[in-house]
Subunit: 331 residues, 2 copies
């Protein structure tokens, strides 16, 4: 089986566990709103990491599915709330939850996925519940990741009003907002498999490095991605003035006249297609793309090094494949 | 010590545990927004119940404080999100979180309190963490309560557009939205104390009955409460068309001409002070106040009966006192 067959197989199991655990939501609008994004698609990369890490270390898929599903629910809860905050109208090719059900119901739908994550994490695939040390450690890891996620989201919102965000601030923000949940996904797989402390350190390195490179490739795709593949219009991050690494880098490197043009587009004062094209070419000319690619390569190398020290088997190979696939999307 | 000294003593311990666990929030706005309502006041009734139940059953206050604090954080998270949904500008005598920091930061502040609740529940007062069966059962109970809370909030939002809400629907909604968190507060005290199954059933009865009577007295105060004591303007629930028990009862009992007047005020078509006064007198004339008081008495009797079968000691007496105090507010 190739990587995509594995990803699809885990997605099936996770989705069916999630759906069965949301069956009892007696309010119809809330149920539909909560499941909307889950049903709209997504690859379930975080559960894939949790399950594959667990199996790499000899753990049981059966036992890890509830934890992997909880992590996916947390991811989806943050998407629903982030879309409200960013006033995004589309995601996964479909209108966002607040666009369809209004902001109040979207806030509750996010909250429900959040609480369902923490009731689900103690459930078993075959029914019943388990309240052992491993499950509680996973719940604690997940809650900690969300603590940081909230701080990262607050930073991101504050960055919107600023044009002097530094690279250090940017990396802090994406670690909090994106990488720590990947870190928790990797660590939870280890907890369920009963990993050693040394292995837990490596799993943390792997998860965090993968999380950062994932976000950096996302930044590249938001700038130079093929709209047919990304589902976003050309230069969408530029139009929205998002503080991504290539944009932060370009702002710090280009000369004053180019910076003025860039800021006009980033702040929305100019928004013609030709303005956006010019802005992208200025960013490219600054060396920002190469610089970001070099950073991606550095984090990929860290992720690979962590995997090298973990058990070498077919599951380890799949995690390596995931790293290579993620990088390849921006080439 | 009287009831209020005990409540104040537990509030001090819970607040200091909460504050120490939010110290590490590195984003200043987020930290202030998250702590705003906690610092603004509140009696900490839920933690009081959790701690007092635990001590009634011989459990340790030390061990239960983290769980009690987690429950209080969950309550505060729901207040922040509810205020956004209800577009409320004031709470606890101060502007609401979204009024001061905007909706995006208020959503995140609520999310942060939510995740902090689930990281806090595994912490110890003296530092370090405990991942045993009791803590995970509390986390699970709390998550389940929030699942229902979300459904209750969704029902409440849907009730806004309806004038034919039945009494059964109303009781379902307040059980989900208010009583289940009181139920979890009571049950978690039992879990930490190592209560028997029989005791857990009684604790559930006590918590749920208290939660319902708490909401019913709140409904009465929103209608006939002294504005100086409640902090709300006269007839605030009537002006906002809230579906409280007295209002639902009156709508189902009064004759058509009075119903028209009532609906004019409830829907906001008429909002002069004299209109509101007339509406309140119609509700009073329908027997709705007496009917609601009779319901309060019935749930108070259930709460007392549960307490009678639990160990008779000073802590049990304090819980009885809490029931009597809560009822007395509406007399």
């Amino acid at each position: 089986m190739g990587l995509w067959d594995d990803i699809a197989a885990i997605k099936d199991k996770v989705d069916s566990f999630i759906l069965s655990n949301l069956e009892d939501v007696s309010n119809d609008s809330l149920k539909k709103a909560s499941l909307h994004l889950i049903k709209a698609g997504g690859k379930r990369l975080r559960p894939f990491i949790t399950v594959t890490v667990c199996k790499m270390l000899g753990g049981s898929e059966h036992e890890v599915i509830p934890v992997a599903s909880a992590i996916e629910l947390v991811h989806n809860f943050t998407l629903i709330h982030d879309d409200i905050m960013d006033q995004d109208a589309f995601r996964r090719g479909t209108p966002t939850v607040h666009t369809l059900w209004g902001i109040p119901m979207a806030i509750i739908a996010g909250d429900l996925l959040f609480s369902k994550a923490f009731s689900m994490i103690f459930k078993n695939v075959e029914g019943g519940e388990t309240f052992d040390e491993r499950r509680s450690m996973c719940a604690h890891l997940l809650a900690n990741a969300i603590n940081y996620l909230a701080i990262g989201q607050a930073m991101d919102i504050e960055f919107e009003k600023r044009w002097d965000v530094t690279e250090d601030e940017y990396f802090q923000m994406i670690k909090y907002k994106t990488a720590f949940l990947f870190g928790a996904a990797s660590l939870c797989g280890g907890v369920i498999a009963g990993a050693s402390s040394l292995q837990m350190d490596l799993l943390k390195d792997f998860g965090l490095s993968y999380g950062v490179l994932f976000q950096l490739t996302d930044d590249l795709l938001g700038l130079i991605g093929d709209p047919k593949k990304t589902g976003k219009p050309v230069g969408s991050d530029v139009r929205r003035g998002k503080k991504t690494l290539p944009i932060i880098y370009a702002l710090s490197k280009v000369e004053e006249s180019e910076k003025t043009i860039l800021l006009d587009v980033l702040s929305g004062r100019k928004s013609e297609d030709s303005d956006v094209k010019l802005a992208i070419s200025i960013i490219e000319g600054s060396g920002a793309i190469d610089y970001t690619r070099e950073r991606v390569e550095r984090y990929a190398s860290d992720a690979r090094k962590a995997l090298e020290k973990l058990p070498q088997n077919e599951y380890n190979a799949k995690l390596q494949e995931l790293v290579e696939y993620t990088i390849s999307r921006t080439r």
